[in-house]
Symmetry: C2
């Protein structure tokens, strides 16, 4: 069985859970607090951040068509959302072509990758890293590791930035039902993973873009989303609409 | 013919020039100053950063085996170092399997991608973005866009960080001649692209890691590196060893 070293409110970990969920893979989840920089986790990923996937079972690179890894084979350790996404799509997308998260055409694949990176890198740098760090992670960090009350300047900047990302999502949806075109791709999952963290905190101004809100309602109603919506920040309830489906 | 919208000291642009150079593609170069946020460039890439490749000629997705695009076909616009790298490797790597920059095995490809991202994202965030912005870009930025003398705190942090990255390169080279194994991959090109910017400024402490220095000497002696080493920052000479081959 595969193991995902993750944090419940790390948006990149959420993205990987969605990617795996679309292929009906439910990994064993091991919680990591990346800010603690534990030696055993740094041995898995010297970059020190989540997610890290120990690919075993159906995700092992030498697994057979029934999804069994060779007896005694060590799992393959994979780090980083983009690397894991490409790997899973190559391995499981080849077995289930109807579920591929990166399209078959080379130009369409490039567009899906561009938008996946848009959310995993740009949206992260402008929105999620502020909100998750300031409003969630800092509650659990020791003071000497940077814990404490949120820096409201970062929170305010993120709340301003999320509005233009929401408009960009609305713009992308003018011509197609999904962000990169006619079919679900990893771009939709990346965007929804990041937005789900922000939505938990009640910081997505959904009323400002109807198309984006309707698209998110569709994505979060997918079975792959179910376990994400059950995760809670101890001591902090989600916004009221967070886990409501088809809003 | 393909066009690369780049900046001569944007490390991600340098990486793409190396990737293209390994396939003997010399794009037309158009200089962009991303900090000016010009409308015509934002139309090509709403993220606003370099590199952007207008893929035409042999790089057009519908080009034939002789490298000609269909008559009248518009170039395909691709943004971002990782997206362009995957695209070029899929398109030209399929035509020249001996030059592939992402290896054929799924596990080896994941490792090459991990290390490519290590340099394009982590090294960038910890080293190149400080040094290129503070010591190069700011010389050419208008004051109202952030120009002025370098912030030496950023420069000092980058100079400290580059040392541990150099040790990591030395560590990777203990078991293999290239960063991701027995063959050249995009990981070597990404690392060398970023280091080349830092080396221009004289900020790589090469004497601290002999293996890393020898590896860099080999990479910068490749023909794909030639045009990079000719680029100059107006009014700022490179460090003496910058363009010396096989040091």
């Amino acid at each position: 069985m595969a193991t995902l070293h993750h944090h419940a409110f790390c948006p990149h970990s959420r993205f990987v859970r969605l990617v795996l969920g679309e292929f009906d893979v439910a990994p064993e989840l091991v919680e990591v607090r990346p800010w603690e920089r534990r030696q055993e986790f740094l041995m898995l990923n010297p970059a020190g951040d989540t997610p890290v996937l120990a690919a075993d079972g159906a995700l092992h690179p030498d697994s057979d068509a029934e999804g069994a890894a060779p007896a005694g084979a060590a799992p393959l350790v994979l780090s980083g959302a983009a690397v894991i996404n490409e790997y899973v799509d190559e391995l499981l997308g080849a077995r289930h072509p109807d579920r591929r998260l990166l399209p078959g055409g080379i130009a369409e694949r490039a567009e899906a990758r561009r938008l996946t990176a848009w959310f995993n890198e740009k949206f992260f740098a402008e929105v999620t890293t502020y909100l998750c760090t300031e409003k969630i992670y800092k509650r659990f960090m020791a003071t000497e590791l940077g814990g404490g009350p949120p820096d409201m300047n970062g929170v305010r900047a993120a709340r301003a930035n999320v509005r233009y990302h929401l408009r960009y999502i609305g713009f992308l949806l003018r011509d197609a039902p999904f962000l990169a075109g006619a079919r679900l791709t990893s771009a939709d999952l990346a965007a929804a993973a990041h937005l789900s963290c922000v939505d938990y905190l009640g910081d997505v101004p959904w009323s400002e873009d109807e198309a984006a809100a309707a698209w998110y309602g569709r994505i979060k109603s997918r079975p792959s989303f179910r376990t994400l919506l059950q995760d809670l920040v101890p001591g902090m309830a989600p916004a009221t609409t967070y886990a409501r489906l088809n809003v």
